[in-house]
């Protein structure tokens, strides 16, 4: 979580190998960037830079179309 006064480094700028994993086929990796409800976590919480947050948001939305990730998690759906 973001804490005031704590400068955070974008994980994708530290390790460029992670950039290839921003893909709707790697939906298990993208689960790190959504809440339990299925909402996309804002970049200021995860520390992802704006450049990669745009890509992540795009790929999460693709994965949602294919029912790999939920639009909104329904607790009754099992």
């Amino acid at each position: 979580m973001a804490i005031l006064g704590n400068t955070r480094i974008c994980p994708f700028k530290e390790d460029s190998a992670l950039i290839d994993k921003i893909d709707y086929k790697e939906y298990k990796f993208l689960r790190k960037f959504i809440t339990e409800q299925g909402k996309i976590i804002p970049a200021h919480v995860t520390g992802v830079s704006a450049k990669y947050q745009r890509l992540i948001a795009m790929e999460i939305k693709k994965a949602r179309v294919l029912a790999l990730l939920p639009f909104a998690a329904d607790p009754r759906y099992s």
């Binding site: 006064g5 298990k28 693709k62 790999l68 939920p70 759906y77």
Partner: protein, 197 residues
């Protein structure tokens, strides 16, 4: 010629034989419009994140091919009009993103047992990679200010006269241990989710 990638979800009630028919029909349509299939894989029967047409499960097929951009609308029409295909997604890809492997699905289905073991092995290796690469994300999340400051205070109280560099060295070690423990926990979580799938 451009390179495209399509993932489509086939109705779960279809058996392997009829599943093959649908895949072959799609490939025939691609060849009719001078397309070339480069890679096909069956992700298997998966649980959908939300029901589509009242179905909770679906068989995912990934297909990569090269085709002229004008003919994409024929392909999307073919997928749209087939009632056994629940959902599909066509995306344009780079040539570098094309995966290596067979461009026919028949072999994969005939040797399903061998492929299952292979896919499990590959999944495990992928998971290891995932965890390695996700370490940094987790480490960053674990490194919160209060822990460090608390440890600094302890160090200052015990070693008032020692150099600040020593304090830093002492400070780093416990963080590493904590992060490694959390990583192992995460490993277990990932394995559990794989089994569920």
């Amino acid at each position: 010629m451009n390179y495209y990638e399509t993932v489509y979800i086939i109705h779960p009630a279809l058996q392997e034989g009829r599943l093959n028919d649908i895949v072959n029909k799609f490939h025939k349509k691609l060849e009719d419009v001078q397309g070339e299939v480069l890679y096909v894989t069956n992700w298997g029967k998966k649980k959908l994140a939300y029901p589509i047409d009242k179905q909770k499960y679906g068989t995912y097929i990934l297909c990569q091919y090269s085709i002229n951009g004008e003919n994409i609308k024929n392909i999307s029409q073919e997928l749209e009009l087939n009632p056994n295909i629940l959902r599909y997604l066509i995306t344009k890809i780079d040539e570098s993103k094309i995966l290596e492997g067979s461009n026919t699905l028949d072999i994969a289905i005939n040797d399903s047992d061998e492929n299952k073991t292979k896919s499990k092995e590959s999944k495990e290796s992928k998971d290891v990679e995932n965890n390695d690469s996700s370490e940094q994300v987790l480490e960053e999340k674990n490194d919160t200010i209060p822990e460090e400051t608390a440890q600094e205070d302890i160090n200052n109280e015990t070693d008032d006269e020692s150099d600040s560099s020593n304090n830093e060295e002492v400070k780093e070690k416990p963080d590493d241990e904590e992060s490694s423990q959390k990583e192992t926990e995460n490993d277990n979580d990932d394995e559990n989710t794989d089994k569920k799938d």
